[in-house]
């Protein structure tokens, strides 16, 4: 009897702490990452390890886009372009000047943050379709410049770069590297979203004019969101290029941006765990479907339609709503 009462009061306290600290999202994220950490025990083939690394890349890019699209409400269609910039920033430095790949990845982060800041500034007064079109145009310019600067980038042939851990190292090392980066990014974003900055970004998403009247410097925080979101996409691109060993303009295709955005939407926009869930379910699923010879994009597109129609909050977003009702509101 006493044990039961003790447990109940302990659970009540836990609930209060989780609600107060808005930690449900973080707990779910960390639990998902724990599952991801032990996944290679069950999926032992090198092929599937490779698939999981790519899924982690997409998840990281979707997490980056989610900060801008999901939390700040700025519908950019250029996450693929920022991954591309991240890839080529490091690839060019490593290929031509023999920079250390780690330093190259650092420069990916710096360059994408700077270009993101610039794009954010250009897009300040744009909303809805105008913003979307501008970011599409930006993405196409970046891809076009890279494709046609053949003397420097080798165009569609791509630029070969050394892998992060040299040749002969298995996919698992990359897998856990990505995992570590995603954990750090998720924890950072958890604290960011919980802070004043997170509230400001979400207020801009809900109503820019009202936010401005409530003391939020909309211009500054929108630009900040653009830069940080681009930085995370650039980080994903920088890591990815040193996993596959080739920088190719294909990453900048609109289809890739669509994939990244789709993962965030299907997982749950404006949630911490949503893009992670989206990336880690959808990429392996599309690879699995590919084995049967079915066009994976057809399945992916069909899923988007189903989720948007029936679970607008996304897979994790809907689950989160249910969990919140069960845990916090009985």
């Amino acid at each position: 009897m006493n044990t039961s009462i003790g447990l109940r009061s302990y659970w009540k306290k836990c609930r209060q702490v989780i609600e107060e600290k808005r930690a449900l999202d973080l707990i779910f994220s960390l639990m998902s990452l724990l599952v991801i950490a032990i996944l290679p025990i069950f999926l032992t083939s090198a092929y599937w390890h490779g698939v999981l690394v790519v899924a982690m890349f997409y998840a990281l890019a979707a997490i980056g886009w989610n900060l801008l699209g999901g939390y700040t409400g700025q519908f950019s269609i250029a996450p693929g372009a920022f991954c591309l910039i991240g890839m080529y920033s490091s690839a060019l430095l490593v290929h031509y000047w023999d920079w250390n790949p780690y330093l190259g990845i650092f420069m990916s982060v710096v360059s994408t943050a700077t270009i993101g800041l610039l794009l954010g500034w250009i897009c300040l007064r744009l909303r809805g379709p105008y913003l979307a079109l501008t970011t599409i145009a930006f993405a196409e310019i970046i891809r076009g410049v890279i494709r046609f600067s053949y003397d420097i980038t080798r165009g569609d042939l791509g630029l070969s770069v050394p892998k992060l851990y040299g040749s002969g190292v298995g996919h698992l090392d990359y897998y856990y590297t990505f995992l570590l980066v995603v954990i750090i990014v998720q924890i950072f974003l958890y604290f960011l979203i919980k802070s004043k900055i997170g509230l400001y970004l979400q207020s801009i998403r809900d109503d820019e004019v009202a936010a401005s009247g409530r003391g939020v410097n909309v211009v500054w925080w929108k630009t900040f969101a653009f830069a940080l979101s681009s930085l995370i996409c650039g980080l994903a691109g920088g890591l990815y290029v040193h996993f596959i060993g080739l920088a190719s303009p294909e990453m900048g295709l609109l289809m890739n941006s669509g994939l990244i955005i789709g993962m965030a939407v299907i997982g749950g926009m404006g949630t911490l765990a949503g893009p992670l869930v989206g990336g880690l379910i959808l990429h392996p699923l599309s690879e699995y479907v590919r084995e049967f010879g079915v066009q994976h994009m057809v399945v992916f597109s069909f899923l988007i339609i189903v989720v948007v129609r029936f679970w607008r909050a996304g897979l994790y977003g809907s689950l989160k709503n249910i969990l919140e009702r069960l845990i916090f509101h009985g």
Binding site: S203, R205, A210, A211, S212, G213, R214, G215, V216
Partner: protein
């Protein structure tokens, strides 16, 4: 007359070639309610938008406590102690009640303890909001949303408060509560600029009243100038 806010010959509009306000001048005395009445489309809300920095005046200037704030950005008005209670909701519907309250108060850069103290006081004054503090503001009823907006005012404690059509769409009971809150704001030491369709209420609450018609101030004076047979007077002021 001592002024907290002076608007001097403001002309402004939403586009380059069409002016909505023409040489509008008003003075708002400290610790009073100054009212403004006028028909729909006369430019009352546009005037607030101009003062608040959402629209840029083509000519004229705005002085707050003697300082020129004509080109000030809306987000920085909170630091000056100016707040706007708009006609439409200015809440963030997907954020919780608590977060809605935290956004302006975090802009004020108060100490953590002061913030918590003010939030606690607010939830004591508005127990309904306190109970639902983790619920999304968009899920509140119209009346509760208005109360949340009032809670924000008490939280921020501005020197000057613009109140634009505070009771539109509210049930009579909530509307009465809303007017009581406006008087309460005055007792908190705030200066209020009230715009409302309810002419009698504006005159009852205000110590000085402006009448606006087609973007111009057509009449003004202390409240006793506006007592008597209102219907005829209003028709005259509004040029009907």
């Amino acid at each position: 007359m001592e002024s907290l806010l002076e608007v001097e010959n403001i002309t402004l509009g939403y586009s380059e070639d069409i002016d909505i306000l023409h040489n509008v001048s008003i003075n708002i005395a400290p610790s009073t309610i100054t009212g403004m009445i006028g028909l729909n489309g006369s430019g009352k809300t546009t005037l607030i938008k101009g003062i608040y920095g959402f629209l840029k005046p083509k000519q004229g200037r705005i002085l707050f406590e003697g300082e020129d704030i004509t080109d000030i950005k809306p987000y920085s008005l909170i630091y000056k102690g100016i707040w706007y209670l708009p006609q439409d909701s200015s809440l963030f519907p997907y954020l919780s009640i608590e977060d809605n309250l935290y956004i302006p108060i975090k802009s004020l850069q108060l100490s953590r303890n002061e913030m918590k103290k003010r939030i606690k006081e607010i939830f004591e004054q508005f127990p309904d909001l306190g109970e639902k503090r983790k619920k999304k503001a968009g899920n509140l009823s119209g009346g509760q949303q208005k109360m949340l907006e009032c809670a924000m005012v008490l939280l921020v404690r501005p020197k000057l408060l613009f109140v634009d059509e505070p009771v539109v769409g509210l049930a009579p009971k909530v509307a009465t509560e809303m007017y009581e809150r406006i008087v309460e704001f005055l007792h908190w030491g705030m200066t209020i600029f009230l715009i409302d369709h309810n002419v009698r209420k504006v005159i009852e609450l205000s110590s000085y009243v402006y009448v606006m018609s087609l973007g111009r101030i057509t009449s003004e004076g202390p409240k006793d100038h506006f007592e008597g047979e209102l219907k005829q007077q209003v028709r005259h002021w509004l040029g009907l």
